[in-house]
């Protein structure tokens, strides 16, 4: 095959995008026919190309290429640097087994829904805008599926969120619809934040954004502590997958971020079918399957996924029990079914979870479109209350049959598609066993809850079905805003029913892809699992026959029980059970009606809190920051200037008094000289020989220096305010000594006045400073160990040093205890190879005389470091070497 099939991957994404752009910019001016030709045509072509690519992939697989995939790289988007190497983010599309299956589902179901929408949206004034958004959605969703790396997938991921936002708020003139759209987008964004962080974690550990590379390194991810913090006790794999799962809970409406999906029903029904049932909301499951090797090595995350999935499945099912609007019931049903998918994925049954994505796409799309057909028939706008419907099977036979087929499928009645996928999910939960080594019982608990959720599913779906299609027609919605006021319901046009039929057929037979056409004969041949094998990880659980039996048995029972109850309560006329129950447990009913009051909880806590935080910030900004930086500072300036203006009173005595005070101050300054002496010090705060002394300057000052502060001035009065003097040892003040310790690698000073008769101990710190921090130097350089030298001043201003048994470690020679040495300030002594310098204090005095002949004095005391110039004799302690 010479022509590049790979290139089709690009066009699968680009064609719907082109359709979106054309309709978005020019659709307003074009005819409806043109608009839907462009919209449906582009999706149809994309579907055709997807089929082509899939066939190619299939042939490659059939030819024995296990890991077959189609790859097409367009260009480098951008690159980042990780650990000094470039990590490129290409615009690259890849179709492997998983992506191929998903592409077909998305483009196929998408195409049907597009066709359906041509009929459903026929009378909408914003026809072109609608199709532009729908096409943009297709492009984003296909990009999400086909992207080869996480950032590119993220483009699609946020793109579908955007389209969801635009389409939920499609009838934006209704403010609550627009608000529902915003809620969806922002909730999704919270999830996207998780994906973003997960991406960084993965790229830091793996050095690549490509799914394939990340999956290949999954095991390493499980061997690294997240953020390099062992204290966290979580591996990169665990933390990254948890963050990813946060993204999934947003996109796929799981606890805690599921609240947007029921509100999303504000969008036109085809949108609900396409985005909020069949495709977008399943992308969380798709993502988990995409990165299944990483999830598979993070049992903690898997447990979280499974628990959240199961809990969502249960919670949403309970809410769906009591709701009365068709689309709202279906929305909660979707949330619940998505929970099933996540439960499967969390239990390691990735293939089963993804199979449910596939079967669910058919029957849920069919259900939504069926609901749309019903609403179209009775003239309901937005949503239809099932209490006002009934008996529609007589008016809408096609809708009825397809709806029934889908209900049977979702309930898990044997041999319908949902049966196969739900059954596999239950098997998966039962078989997970020791994979959750921290809670081996978890799988059985999940199984039990899922079975209950399955009963509830069968019940509420058939409640919906019976109340809508059976019994007598109850007159439809109140007709104040309906388009078809007063007429009998009628079957929808062919453009709407044919997609229903196709989807309905899918809902019936779709499940046989799991067992294969020959599956009934060869029980072990599972084409779905085999096909997906290269793409999905395995956690190595075994499916015992007993597990399969339990799942089959209880799963089927659940369907039968649920349908049975619904039948006995709603299909037969005048049964009072539901009403009685409602009256008996009003709190429970209301609690479920109020959707567990999760929205209210979020409003009160997170949303309300955020809003209050926003208001608080704005107030803080006005009051504190602006108040402090702008108002307060300007007030301060104003206050000062007010003070100054107060001085300008115009009262002459006051001016006079101030002037006199000024004159006195100036006179004092002039009459009395101001002596100030400074000495130039080095970085260690020591003076260097020769010492630079400076005195404060003043008008007509003369200076006289007494460099050792002995009372006799060494210089005559002179005009220079600076003096340079080299201190000899004799000029240093006796009795005040400074100790330096150090060796070739540095110096550490310890200053202390030595008083005669008070022995001075080198302390540990100083000893420590003799040891170089570097390991190499520590070993090779001598250090003093044991007792430290003792230092004592004597009466004559000298210093006696006793080694006190210190050992020079390297040479191992012990210094004799008796050996002492006497040095004078300014001399240094070596103990082993460590050196000790005794520095001296000096005090200098300057006298300053001004033009009035008045004199003042100032003294300064400083320590003098030895300089290379004065080579005073040095002593060596510790004998010869």
């Amino acid at each position: 095959m010479e022509f590049a099939v790979e290139r089709t991957l690009l066009w699968i994404v680009l064609l719907p995008l082109a359709g979106a752009i054309i309709n978005g910019l020019a659709g307003r001016y074009a005819s409806r026919t043109t608009v839907h030709t462009v919209a449906v045509g582009s999706v149809a072509m994309a579907f055709g190309l997807a089929l082509l690519a899939f066939v190619r992939l299939y042939l490659l697989r059939a030819a024995g290429e296990q890991d077959a995939k189609l790859i097409y790289t367009l260009y480098e988007w951008f690159a980042i640097t990780v650990n000094n190497s470039q990590v490129s983010i290409p615009v690259r599309f890849i179709m492997d087994a998983l992506g191929g299956a998903m592409t077909l589902v998305v483009s196929g179901v998408g195409l049907l829904i597009h066709i359906y929408a041509c009929g459903y949206m026929k009378d909408d004034p914003s026809y072109a805008r609608f199709f532009s958004y729908m096409n943009l959605f297709m492009a984003s969703m296909l990009l999400l599926v086909l992207a080869s790396n996480v950032p590119l997938m993220f483009v699609g991921w946020e793109g579908v969120g955007l389209c969801s936002y635009l389409l939920i708020g499609f009838w934006f003139e209704n403010k609550s619809y627009a608000e529902a759209g915003r809620k969806a987008f922002i909730t999704n964004r919270i999830g996207d934040f998780g994906v973003l962080i997960a991406m960084f974690l993965l790229v830091q550990a793996v050095g690549s954004f490509e799914f394939e590379t990340i999956n290949r390194h999954a095991v390493e991810l499980a061997g690294r502590w997240a953020f390099g913090l062992p204290a966290l006790r979580m591996t990169v794999a665990t933390v990254a997958t948890l963050f990813l799962f946060l993204g999934c809970t947003g996109k796929s409406a799981q606890i805690p971020l599921f609240v947007w999906l029921p509100d999303a029903m504000a969008g036109p029904t085809p949108v609900s079918a396409l985005i909020h049932a069949a495709t977008m909301v399943t992308s969380g499951v798709y993502l988990i399957c995409r990165l299944s090797p990483v999830f598979a090595v993070a049992p903690t995350s898997m447990a979280v996924v499974a628990i959240i999935g199961t809990a969502t499945a249960f919670l949403a099912a309970t809410i769906a029990l009591v709701q009365n609007n068709m689309k709202r019931i279906l929305a909660y049903s979707t949330v619940s079914q998505l929970g099933f998918m996540f439960a499967a994925a969390g239990c390691g049954a990735f293939a089963a979870g993804f199979f449910h994505v596939y079967t669910h796409a058919f029957f849920k799309a069919c259900l939504f479109l069926g609901a749309g057909s019903v609403m179209h028939a009775v003239g309901a706008h937005g949503d239809a209350d099932i209490r006002q419907l009934g008996g529609l099977r007589r008016f809408q036979p096609r809708t009825n049959w397809t709806f029934l087929a889908s209900c049977l499928a979702i309930a898990g009645v044997p041999l319908f598609s949902g049966f196969f996928s739900k059954d596999e999910i239950l098997v998966g939960a039962l078989s997970v066993g020791d994979f959750f080594f921290f809670a081996p019982w978890l799988g059985r608990v999940l199984f039990a809850v899922l079975v209950i959720a399955a009963i509830l599913t069968a019940f509420y779906m058939f409640r919906l079905y019976f109340m809508t299609f059976w019994g007598d027609y109850r007159g439809g919605p109140s007709h104040d805003n309906a388009e078809h006021g007063g007429h009998d319901p009628h079957e929808s046009p062919g453009s709407m029913t044919w997609p229903l039929v196709l989807l309905g057929v899918g809902a019936i037979v779709g499940g046989y892809l799991w067992v294969g056409a020959l599956g009934l004969l060869h029980l072990h041949w599972e084409p779905w699992v085999v096909w997906l094998e290269p793409s999905l990880a395995s956690i190595g659980t075994e499916h015992h026959t007993s597990h399969i039996a339990w799942a089959l048995g209880l799963g089927t029972t659940a369907a039968v029980v649920g349908i049975g109850i619904a039948w006995s309560w709603y299909a037969r006329k005048d049964v009072e059970t539901p009403k009685r129950l409602k009256e008996q447990f009003p709190e429970v009913h209301q609690f479920l009606m109020d959707k567990w009051r999760v929205d209210e909880l979020y409003d009160a806590t997170i949303l309300g809190g955020s809003r209050r935080l926003g208001i608080a910030s704005a107030n803080f900004d006005n009051a504190a920051i602006d108040g402090l930086l702008a108002s307060a500072s300007s007030k301060a300036v104003k206050g000062l200037s007010y003070l100054f203006t107060r001085i300008q009173t115009g009262v002459v005595h006051a001016y006079g008094a101030i002037m006199v005070a000024g004159i006195v101050a100036v006179a004092w300054w002039f009459i009395f000289p101001h002596a100030r002496i400074d000495v130039q010090l080095d970085e260690n705060g020591l003076a260097r020989n020769p010492v630079h002394l400076a005195a404060g300057e003043g008008l007509g000052y003369e200076y006289q220096w007494d460099i050792d502060s002995d009372g006799t001035f060494e210089t005559d009065w002179q005009s220079g305010s600076k003096l340079e003097h080299r201190y000899s040892i004799d000029e240093l003040k006796p009795g005040s000594v400074v100790i330096f310790a150090g060796s070739g690698y540095g110096v550490h000073t310890k200053q202390s006045k030595l008083m005669p008769g008070e022995p001075f101990h080198l302390d540990e710190n100083l000893l420590g400073s003799w040891q170089h921090p570097d390991e190499y130097f520590k070993k090779t350089y001598p250090k003093l160990v044991g007792v430290l030298p003792k230092i004592e001043a004597d009466e004559d201003g000298g210093v006696i040093i006793r080694p006190n048994g210190a050992v020079v470690a390297r040479t191992g020679k012990r210094i004799e205890r008796e050996e002492t040495i006497r040095v004078r300030p300014g001399e240094s002594v070596s103990i082993g190879e460590a050196k000790l310098t005794i520095a001296g204090y000096a005090q200098a005095t300057v006298a300053v005389k001004n033009a009035f002949g008045l004199i003042s004095r100032d003294s300064i005391t400083f320590t003098i470091a030895r300089d290379s110039g004065s080579n005073a004799p040095q002593a060596y302690l510790g004998g010869t070497r």
């Binding site: 980042i80 003139e173 973003l196 702008a630 110096v747 070596s830 300089d867 070497r881």
Partner: protein, 562 residues
């Protein structure tokens, strides 16, 4: 001519401004067209800069002339991969901003044109100058026309806003001036020569304790301009009061000069000090991101909302800068451009409805998507780009910045924490922008005044179209811009790390080595030596040699000493 390209670029607007001064005040049309034409010529000239060789970190189109020899003040100009895009952003946005205020400005058109032309000279000069003092001159030069634009053509509270803007920026700048002079004096103390040239001053190794003060002075000036939390308080006032054109330039270009200042001057000149300030500055940047977003969310004034969003967005830019990673820095520069485009467009868009309705109160609007579909389309696109939707420019910038922050060595183990907090800004951006979209465009158009608003005019479309083009260009193919930044960014990070390694503790270590050498000139007592045997003497010499060698090693470790 190419030898003087940058000079022409800088001085042409000033020349044109003088010409405008001599034009009769009544010929409003001539003045308007002339000024826009000059700005378009500027844009054309600046496009020639793209012919430079940005595969190296060398400054392109460099010019150098000595202005005051004795003081080392030079006229040195040059662009590299960093300033190139900011220059282009300036030359692109200036004509658009001027053109967008075509109908909004009726009074003193001549002075308005004069101010804008003068402003362009100041902005371009500041981006192109490579002499610190020259930079300072341009930096201050911008201040005056901008204050005038706010103070003369602004809203009701314009004088307060103009003075506030002027004082805040001025106070910061004065500290910087002192620091610049001190820097030159320090250079003179080490080399006996005065200089203000950036390249030479960068070589100066200053003790950390001095660096800290100088950096603080520079940082104050730049942080006010950026503006970083909590110095942002002049910004909402200035934006709200400024006319549309002024707001656009203020947001799109002027704020970038603060970020650019950090990148070009404060960080390379004082790496060790900036490194010490990074933990504080990063936290301020992140607080800015979140705080700005929260403040934006609750504003009732449309323009104030956009103004606070700038605080949030520039927090991202600063975060990227301080991460000192290649993608963090590239992302920052890209995000500066992005912010210029997106926020510039947002201000134009706010101006559009302000011109029609003379109010910016969000509660006054609603349902405009029906009335003004083109306007709504462009607004939503720009708002989403500002919120960093993938496929638009904002995403690439924010992604690079956040990944830079996450992977930054300088942030150490706090990097994930910083990133987590900063990334919440991405969520919050969606919150406040969609809040605005909802308020203005959705819901029923029940306010009668809104029901017959005309959609975008051809002029307004002309202004917005190029901006929308860049939204997608940068979003889809950012390599056009990123590739030419790479060498300069690499040079920046390499220099920064190297200087940091060498210079961080260099002064203290150097002092140590000197002190050690001075205190122990001859380490061993001469008297003892006579008694040493030949063998021991050899041993001692070996030790001595090693000891010397070690001093040598240390001198090298201390680095930057020779």
């Amino acid at each position: 001519m190419s030898g003087y390209l940058l000079s022409i670029l800088i001085w042409l607007p000033l020349f044109a401004a003088v010409v405008v001064l001599f034009t009769p005040r009544q010929s409003v049309g001539v003045i308007r067209w002339f000024s826009v034409l000059v700005m378009l010529v500027e844009l054309g000239i600046s496009l020639l800069l793209l012919t430079g060789d940005y595969t190296s970190a060398q400054f392109q189109f460099a010019e150098r002339a000595v202005l005051v020899e004795k003081l080392g003040i030079t006229y040195s100009l040059g662009v590299d991969g960093i300033s190139l895009w900011l220059v282009l952003l300036t030359t692109l946005l200036t004509p658009l901003a001027t053109y967008s205020s075509w109908t909004a400005i009726h009074t003193k058109v001549k002075e308005y044109a004069f101010s804008f032309l003068l402003l362009e000279t100041g902005m371009l000069g500041a981006f192109i100058a490579l002499d610190v003092l020259l930079f300072y001159v341009f930096w201050e030069l911008m201040l005056i026309p901008m204050a005038l634009i706010i103070g003369i053509w602004g809203g009701p509270n314009r004088v307060y806003a103009a003075i506030k803007f002027f004082l805040f920026t001025m106070v910061g700048s004065l500290f910087m001036l002192v620091a610049i002079i001190y820097l030159a004096v320090q250079y003179q103390a080490q080399t006996n020569l005065y200089t203000f040239e950036l390249a030479k001053l960068t070589e100066l190794v200053l003790p950390v304790n001095i660096q800290i003060w100088l950096f603080a002075a520079f940082a104050l000036a730049f942080a006010v301009k950026v503006p970083m939390f909590p110095l942002h308080t002049w910004l909402p006032d200035a934006h709200v009061e400024a006319p549309t054109g002024g707001s656009v330039i203020l947001a799109a270009v002027l704020l970038k000069l603060g970020c650019y200042g950090f990148l070009r001057f404060a960080m390379p000149l004082f790496p060790s000090a900036s490194h010490r300030f990074i933990p504080t500055l990063v936290v301020l940047a992140i607080v800015g991101i979140i705080y700005g977003a929260y403040c934006a969310w609750v504003q009732k004034d449309f323009k104030k909302l956009v103004a606070y969003s700038s605080v949030s967005h520039l927090g991202f830019v600063m975060l990227g800068l301080f991460s000192v990673t290649p993608q963090g820095l590239s992302g920052s520069i890209l995000q500066m451009v992005n912010h210029g485009i997106s926020t510039g467009a947002l201000f134009v868009l706010v101006g559009v409805i302000y011109e029609r309705r003379h109010t910016r109160d969000l509660n006054e609007f609603g349902g405009l998507a029906k009335v003004m579909p083109n306007y709504a389309l462009i607004f939503v696109v720009v708002a989403l780009s500002s919120a960093g939707l993938p496929g638009t420019n904002g995403f690439v910038g924010e992604f690079m910045i956040l990944s830079g922050a996450f992977l930054s060595e300088f942030f150490g183990e706090r990097a994930p924490l910083y990133t987590l907090f900063a990334a919440t800004g991405v969520v919050l951006a969606a919150v406040y922008l969609l809040h605005a979209v909802l308020k203005v465009f959705f819901g029923p158009a029940d306010n009668e005044k809104n029901q017959h608003l005309p959609d975008l005019t051809a002029r307004e479309l002309t202004v917005l179209a190029p901006l929308v083009l860049f939204v997608f260009w940068i979003g889809l193919y950012p390599n056009t811009f990123l590739k030419s930044m790479e060498p300069s960014i690499k040079a920046f990070t390499d220099n920064y790390s190297a200087k940091l390694k060498a210079g961080d503790d260099a002064p203290t270590q150097r002092a140590v080595v000197k002190a050690a050498v001075n205190i122990f000139p001859q380490t061993v007592s001469e008297t003892g030596m006579n008694q040493e045997s030949e063998e021991k003497k050899a041993d001692r010499d070996r030790n001595q040699a090693r000891s010397d060698g070690e001093v040598e090693i240390f001198a090298q470790v201390a680095g930057g000493l020779r």
